[in-house]
Each structure stands twice: as C-alpha cells, then as structure tokens.
Homo-oligomer: 375 residues x 2
Amino acid sequence: MDHPPASPYLPAERILLGPGPSPVPQRVLRALAAPTLGHLDPQYLAIMDHTCAMLREVFRTKNPLTFPVSGTGMAGMECVAVNLLEPGDEAIVCVNGVFGTRMKDVMERCGATVHAVEAAWGDVIALEQIRAALDAHPHTKLVGVVHAETSTGAHQPLEGWAELVHARGALLAVDAVTSLGGHELRVDDWGIDAVYSGTQKCLSCPPGLSPVSFGPRALAAMDARKSKVRSWYLDVSMLRKYYTGGGGGGRVYHHTAPINMTYALHEALTIVLEEGLDARIERHAQMHRRLRAGLEAMGLRYIPQRSLHSLNCIGLPAGADDAGVRRRLLEEYGIEIGAGLGPMAGKAWRIGLMGHGSTVRNVDLVLTALRTILG
Amino acid sequence: MDHPPASPYLPAERILLGPGPSPVPQRVLRALAAPTLGHLDPQYLAIMDHTCAMLREVFRTKNPLTFPVSGTGMAGMECVAVNLLEPGDEAIVCVNGVFGTRMKDVMERCGATVHAVEAAWGDVIALEQIRAALDAHPHTKLVGVVHAETSTGAHQPLEGWAELVHARGALLAVDAVTSLGGHELRVDDWGIDAVYSGTQKCLSCPPGLSPVSFGPRALAAMDARKSKVRSWYLDVSMLRKYYTGGGGGGRVYHHTAPINMTYALHEALTIVLEEGLDARIERHAQMHRRLRAGLEAMGLRYIPQRSLHSLNCIGLPAGADDAGVRRRLLEEYGIEIGAGLGPMAGKAWRIGLMGHGSTVRNVDLVLTALRTILG
C-alpha cells in the first residue's frame, strides 16, 4: 500500500460551516453506533416506520410514500427523475446554478427532452418564465426547480407554482436538499408532487440518505408509465413495497437498507421535532440575519438576490487569497467554509449555517475569524 | 404520528446469522461514530484514499479504479451494469438464483439485450454453457455471473472463465457481494474486469457502501461508449475524478460521500488485513465445515451442489414450522437466520457465517438452538 495509514477514529473536530455536511450532534453519532439489526427485523422495521412518519412531519405532508432513499442527495434527485420521466416525455428545468444544471442532465439521461428555463447564477426564476415555457411546450410532463440552490445561495420562491403547473397538467418536482428542516417548506400546502432532500444539511445527520416524498399525482404518473424505470436500485414501484408494505407480511425485500444510517436519521429527526419545526426555521432566519449584518459591516457582499438562511454566498473581497483564507480558517480555527462552484470558483465563499451548526457561537466565531484573517 | 416511538439507541443485540447484514465489531461501530468531516477535507480524503488502497488488497487487484459506491450492494451491481452497457449491446447473464435474475433485469434496463444462461436454483453454471452461449451470441460485450449466490448458497467456480470470455472479446463482470473477505477471490489473477461487493457481508461493516473495482478492459469499454451512462449518480466517468483524481487539485466534487460509513469501512478493512486475508478465508472454511457437520448430523440437508462457506442454505426438515422456528430463534436466542427467497420461500433456511460472525461460539450456539427448538 502506497498510502500512510489514517485513523478514522480521530478526525479533527471541525466546525462545519460549508455547504454541507453540517455539524452532527453527539446524540446522532451515538445513535449511529447502535448495534446493527437485520433489515427485516421487526425492531428495525419499527424504527424505519417511525423515521418515515417523522419525515412526513418535517416535509409537512401526508404522503404515504415518504422514505429515505439509500444514497446521498443526488440519489434522491435521480430517484425523482427516473421514476417520473421516460423516453418521449418533456420536462422543464430551472437552471440558475450547479444543481439546476445537474437536474437537467439527470432528466435527459432518463430519455426525456428537457427545456431549460434560465436565470443568472444567484438570481431566481420568475413564475412568468415558467408560464412562457409551458406555453411554448404544452406537452410538458414535469417542471423541476431547486428550492435552495446550494451553489449560489439563492432562495427560490415557490408561491403559485403548483397552481400554474397543475393547470397545465404537469407535475412539480422540487430539490429541497438545503432547505428541509431549515427553511419553510410545505409539501402539501404548496402542491409539490415530488421532493427530495439530503440528511447532511439542515437535518444535521451524516450524509448517506436522501429523504423523498411522492404525492398522489406523482404516483398516478408512475402507474401510467409505458416503460420500466431505468434504475433498478431507485425503482419506486419496488421500493414502495418495502417502505409502505404495512407492518405484517406485506413487506417485500428490495435491497439491504443502510441500517445504522437509519438510526442516525431517526435521532436527527427526533431532535428537529423536539425543537419544533417553526422554532428551528426561525432560528435559521435569526442566525442568517446575525451573520449577514456582520459580513456586511465588514464590507462583504451577498451574491444572490434573495439569500437562503442556511447558506450564505458572498463575493470574495478584493485582493483576498481564496484558498489561503480557507486554509487558515481550517488550520487555525478548525472551521470549514465552502469555495465557489463552477463559474463562481475563486470568486465566492459559501458559509453554511445549517441545523446544529446554526448558532450564535458559530456565527460570532466565523465573523471573528474572518475579521482576523482578512485583517 | 400514528406509530409508537422506537428507540434507535437500544436495538436488541442480535446475533446476525442470516444472509447479511453480519455482526459488526464494536471497533467498527466506534469508528462509525467519529466526528463527521467534510467530503473535501484533506483528512477525509486521506481516509478515503487509504480505504481504497485496502480495498485493492482485499480484492487482490492493482486496479486504480477501486472504490466504494455510495449505496448498498445492489447499487454496485447497477454501477457495473450502467457503465459497461448501453443500448445495442448484448450481454450474457448466468441465472441460477435471485441475484442472477436481478442482474439480468438491471442490465436490460441499460438498453442491452441480455441472454440468460440458466441452471437450477442451487446448481452452478458450467463453463461449457458459457462457451455455447458465446457461440450463439458472438457479439456479446459482457458476461455477468454471481460468484456467491446469496439466495441459494451456491459457490460458482470461475476458473477458466476469463480466458474464454476474453478470447471472445467480451468482459467478465462478477457479483462478489457474499464472497469478498470470506472466500478466495482473486480479481487480477482470475482476469475479472469488473466486480462489486457489499460491506455488510464478510467485511462485517454496516450496509451502505458497495466496493467496486474496474480493470483496464472495463475502462477501455467505458471510454468507447457512444451514449451517456443512464445513471448520473453512478457514472464512473465522473466518479473517477473524485476517487482517483490524486491528492491535490485534481479531485473534482461529484456528490457528498457517506463520510461516517467510510470511517466504518476503513476500520472493517483494517480488521480484515490485521487477521490476514488467507487466515480469514481459512476461518470461514473451517466454520462452514463445523456447522455443516452439525447440521448433517441432525439430518438436515444442504441445497446447493457446492456450498459457500459464508452462507449455508439448507432444506427445511419435514414438518418444521418455517416462520415459527425462525421466530423462536430470534425471540429466545436473539439469533437471526434467513428465510428462503423466491421459489425457496418456505422450503429453505439460510444460515450466514460471515466475517465477525463466523466463530466457533456462533456455530455451536446456532446448532444447540436448532436442536432444542426442533426437538
């Protein structure tokens, strides 16, 4: 072996203020390390059922088909795409950052024709643009949009979207990876048909699962498919028999679920509901305002029109050494922040205040550290 | 919420002697609970690099492209299929159990035409059958075979397979989910072009990652693709930039890896290499013989022609109550064994002796428990 051994026991205790993963509470790490059960053990099925019930509360939905996909956030995006689209379908995707760009790519791989509706990186998409795109492409089956664009920090409003999209006979699919548990997200009230998220953002659980939820319109679209889903691993027609097969003999084995990650997600959701979703969302708003006031007082500028509370994307100050500043934050303070992605590489920093990481202590520390390093 | 709360802290400490997951050592659970790092943190990248180096040792390969896919074993199967096959391709798949049946389905979803070579469940496939299939389908691009069929306990010999398959210009893809770390598996010596496994079998790590390895012929086939890989999440042309991009600026972010699961796999592989691969394989052989002698002395019969050491598939004794016996094992002894799958449902039990679970203590206990319950 060429590599020096590294100890997985003793990673540094970073303060994770980047675009995710976010800091994981000790309670969640302890749950992660509980003894492994079999994936068909009645005890495990009870934990999984309860995890799905809590996910419904956090998504604010009654959708029975709400469960954690056995992969990270991008697996959730792919799960939504492969189940709802097939060759011959048309989709409209909002592209104003890395994740919208990816959504278009993922949906094209399903054999669909995808029409991009674009905005500048950092801007949000106007509902009028969707109306025009639906006028131009009246056979559109699905409109995909990123609620919280992790690459730019833009917070996409979704008011009125479902009414418009449903009136044209299409489905609304939403990427809520960086908003679930930190921003208002009302799956049922907003008429969202399919939504996916990640565990490692505002839920403050390690990465490895992707919560998804599908509403009745999405189920009807799946039932009307003419071809098999292109991914076996993510085929909801089989997954639903495992996740919603009922408590008794109705469950059918599909794949071995990531048992210990389910324990961790269960504990992370318990913490979210103990705090209360409204209180948690308000905490994210307050910490964002506190950080924003401090950054703007230092002369730093937010890039997005309408910033997320969970992710703060700011322009690099003139003359700052991008990698050098981030390295000093990491080495001297143990603080991770994110670099710019794609066209923003070298031009932006991304400071995440997600879940367990969104605290006065962290906001004031990162402001102090930045003031010290930037001089 | 409709469900009673369940505690993810306090699952029962089962003795997992089913088809996987296998018992996880406390050292691995402890590693799993180490503080979460960012997926681009230099410390994490060192742990990931070292994990991949250890995976090469355990696969007995020098393939640079050896890494854990961010999903469970079936994601590994899908990763091999989607990257090596595209519409217009032909494949031959050996079907003699659940996982061969699934491999055919997964490969068909890639747009390939798949020819099944069949044997009865419990039997293995003869090399002559592959020769005949290659004669009948001379444009075959890939031959897929399950080394360790978890549904039947059959141990597929692979001697001479690569020579034949390569002589016809095809690739050899192997499912080693239930053999890696418990059975002889020599990826380079045996000429295997693509192989996938799971963490929750003979490696005794929780489920959630799927180790894969691709050799030079497989890489050449990927480079010669005419169409994009159907799965974005599993597209090796992008994944390889993250996993083998080198230590410096060559790495490109793809998705957020399951950080804590990587810690666990690192520790599980460390344990495998401390024991020594040869010694571990020999232990699995010895424990299998010990269990087999005990079961046969009770009049129980093995179903496969050629049994795996890691999984023992036996016929139900006449008059035994399948679910009742398994429930008593679980409730009275805390022992999980597996039911029969597919056509073997109600007719077979599957006793796994995998990794940390393959011990004298467990063999003698399960024999005693079965003797007591069967009376």
